[in-house]
């Protein structure tokens, strides 16, 4: 009898262990929980819509608007979660495991999401009014449209400028912000020589995040000067053109002009030091307007401004920087069971009034033509400096390395970082990059996995 009781007891313990083990496999929410709606008080008739975003800079604004939407739409409960680190990987894993949100922020071009079966087309929601509001930005091939199907819509764009501390420039006696990369080097050197004893340096970059520097600083400087590592006219890579840009930064690093410890510097610590008046210049996007505002993430008392990215050997470069994220905003996940309700919230996010308020509060520059007409620029430092201008900014065509190109070895951005730090020979490294990327492009084209983009009349100066 005792033996039977023991066997039953052991069996119950094992069952409990198994139950506990498998209950851990059920989906659980992650990221930020909704501070404004306690799930416990949610009423049964509300439909939940889950939205994922990568941006933390505009979180306060988006949360306020989300609460207003929920209050005005008693049948819906929109929840928002923020993933700034590893957003792309987290989203992919969520889609693969069937735990994707209903709406997510679209950061890459549509092809990326289509290949991974992550987005639903939005064509059935398109109205004439929407088309009219968007004008030329409605459908941009390979950016938000694939084979005639629309997957996301334009919202805002990130413009890039050289940010500089006016107080430091004045104190050093510099005539103004640099117009060429040669001046940028010279001014940075003067600032460092003047301010080193007080911990003030001429130039900084967030080199711990090599992709951030590569994409926002190196690539944008190239585009501003009318060229890029991918030759759109001939349809092949040529990284040797990046040498003049990388040489300037390599020289700054070797001569100790750069802010110390850039190897381990992330963008937020960089912003902290700029806000504290310790950095003369750096290049970044229009997020800085809200970041350095009085109620921003790193409010600063120093006088700062933003100017166009310097030219190489010329004070009037004729190229244009890329407007990052233009043409993309929000998408409806392929697995969403309530796409029509999800579209209601996306419509709200893309209303002219919403977008205008977004810009007026300094969170970013709106590209939607109908909203841009009514939106004013906020009375915040940097807002007008970062404003989109036809002479300075454009939406560049999609190049193969952003469309699933597979190649061997280090990516371009890690290589740029190695060049700047003096770890590799610049010519050899750029030649090696060109060879590897072109080999990947040739192989991808042969497999049918990557499209060779050729635009014979491409001219980024027009």
């Amino acid at each position: 009898m005792r033996k039977h009781v023991l066997i039953i007891a052991r069996g119950i313990i094992v069952c409990c262990l198994l139950l506990a083990m498998f209950s851990a496999c059920t989906p659980q929410s992650s990221g930020n929980t909704d501070p404004l709606h306690d799930p416990g008080t949610q009423s049964a008739e509300k439909t939940e819509i889950l939205l994922w975003t990568n941006q933390r800079a505009d979180l306060v604004f988006r949360e306020e608007k989300r609460a207003a939407f929920n209050n005005a739409n008693p049948d819906l409960n929109v929840k928002m979660e923020v993933f700034t680190e590893d957003y792309a990987t987290t989203l992919e894993l969520a889609v693969a495991s069937g735990q994707a949100p209903d709406i997510f922020q679209v950061l890459n071009n549509a092809r990326y999401y289509l290949d991974r079966n992550m987005l639903q087309p939005l064509d059935k929601y398109v109205t004439d009014d929407l088309k009219q509001r968007y004008g030329n930005l409605f459908m941009i091939d390979e950016v938000n449209t694939i084979d005639g199907k629309l997957y996301t819509l334009a919202e805002r764009g990130i413009t890039f400028r050289l940010i500089y501390n006016k107080d430091i420039f004045e104190a050093v006696g510099l005539p103004g912000p640099p117009k060429t990369t040669e001046q940028m080097y010279d001014y940075a050197k003067q600032i460092t020589e003047w301010g080193r004893k007080d911990g003030i340096y001429g130039y900084a970059m967030q080199l711990k995040s090599t992709a951030s520097v590569g994409d926002r600083v190196i690539d944008q400087t190239a585009r501003r000067n009318g060229f890029f590592s991918y030759d759109f006219i001939n349809g092949k890579f040529n990284f040797s053109v990046m040498k003049p840009i990388l040489s300037v930064y390599r020289k700054m690093y070797e001569e100790g002009i750069m802010f110390p410890g850039i190897e381990g510097l992330e963008i937020d610590p960089l912003r902290t030091q700029f806000a504290a008046g310790k950095i003369g210049m750096y290049i970044n996007g229009n997020w800085e307007t809200a970041i350095y505002a009085e109620n921003g993430q790193f409010p600063t008392k120093c006088n700062w401004g933003a100017v166009t990215i310097p030219g190489i050997g010329t004070e009037n470069p004729s190229g244009k920087t890329n407007i990052n994220n233009a043409g993309k905003s929000w998408g409806i996940s392929i697995s969403s069971e309530v796409p029509d309700l999800a579209w209601r919230y996306i419509e709200y996010l893309l209303e002219d009034d919403y977008l205008a308020e977004y810009q007026e509060k300094g969170y970013g520059t709106i590209v939607v033509p109908s909203a841009a007409k009514i939106a004013k620029f906020p009375d915040m430092i940097g807002a007008e400096d970062f404003a989109m201008k036809d002479t300075l900014d454009m939406i560049w065509p999609v190049s193969p390395e952003t469309a699933g190109l597979k190649f061997e070895g280090k990516n371009a951005y890690d290589t740029y970082a190695a060049i700047i730090l003096g770890a590799v020979d610049i010519d050899a490294a750029l030649a090696d990059l060109t060879s590897r990327y072109n080999a990947g492009l040739n192989a991808g084209e042969k497999d049918g996995t990557v499209k060779r983009v050729v635009i014979p009349n491409f001219d980024p100066t027009k």
Binding site: M21, A96, K406
Partner: protein
């Protein structure tokens, strides 16, 4: 089913039942992923399009063209050696000290063990700020005490690996100290008394009684620490991301990046097939080193 099997099942039924959850977990989280990896080493696969069989193409690429991987292998050995050379003797010394009759030894044991229970990512983030070359507290203290006259670039090309090793030592010492403490407490008191009666001093007792008797424990601790050191990458991922310019890139971080190559908003195509080949070769290297160590240490103990 034969009578013997039936008898075994009947006798050990509850044992098999108790082991069942572990076996299920092992199959789901170890055996199945292992089989998946061993299959995909012979394919190119990006998780989107159907896989393409390429035979030994991934291995050819790894052994003939991927210099960055072999640099990461070298970095891993440097990291492991640097970590072990200091961690193992230090943790043994601490165990010996805290096994003696000093006051508040339990408090010291708890404090030294605490890093083991702190999340590696959180710990590494704190050290990232502490070793910040511009205004980190480490440089501030060294400057104020005049040990250095100018800030040290702890995350520069020359010192990033040293910084990673320091953080690894801090995180590991407490763990191995506990193993050594457990081993020390198995040494009978009579051995110490007999040694004292024979006139041995404390250093002689340590080297001629304690260390020889701790042989099997040391062998186990060293084996564990070698495996952990060779596999370690979490703290490096937070501290330096494998940089600058690959100076702290280690094997398992390289494997991770093959599967998850994207950096923030910038997306790169994953290469699961090649990543699987890298993972298999990395595991083989780790296993080979461990087996080499076991063979060597068994001879020494015998």
């Amino acid at each position: 089913m034969s009578d013997k099997v039936k008898r075994l099942l009947k006798q050990n039924f509850s044992t098999y039942l108790m082991v069942l959850p572990c076996v299920v977990l092992l199959i789901v989280f170890v055996i199945y992923p292992l089989c998946w990896v061993l299959r995909y080493v012979f394919f190119t696969y990006d998780g989107l399009r159907p896989e393409k069989y390429i035979g030994f193409g991934n291995f050819v690429r790894l052994f003939t063209r991927d210099h960055d991987y072999w640099k990461s292998v070298y970095n891993t050995f440097v990291y492991a050696a640097g970590k072990l050379i200091i961690t193992v003797p230090l943790s043994f010394l601490l165990a010996v000290l805290l096994n003696s009759g000093i006051r508040m030894k339990n408090l010291f044991r708890a404090i030294i063990f605490m890093p083991t229970i702190i999340s590696t990512a959180v710990m590494s983030l704190v050290f990232y700020f502490m070793f910040n070359s511009y205004n980190g507290i480490v440089n501030q203290v060294l400057l104020r005490t005049s040990i250095i006259s100018s800030p040290i670039n702890w995350f520069g090309m020359d010192l990033a690996m040293v910084t990673a090793i320091i953080v690894a030592i801090w995180g590991a010492v407490g763990n191995y100290m506990i193993y050594f403490l457990a081993g020390l407490q198995t040494i009978p008191e009579e051995m110490y008394e007999v040694a004292k009666i024979d006139g041995a001093n404390r250093m002689q007792i340590l080297f001629f009684i304690v260390i020889p008797l701790m042989g099997p424990v040391m062998q186990m601790v060293l084996m564990l620490s070698i495996i952990v050191a060779l596999k370690g990458f979490q703290s490096i991922m937070v501290l330096t991301g494998g940089g600058p310019a690959g100076a702290t890139d280690v094997m398992y971080l390289y494997v991770y990046r093959s599967f998850f190559p994207s950096q923030g908003e910038v997306l790169f195509a994953p290469q699961y097939g090649y990543g699987s080949a890298v993972a298999v070769v990395t595991a083989a290297i780790t296993g080979f080193i461990t087996m080499l160590y076991l063979k060597f240490s068994n001879k020494r103990i015998n």
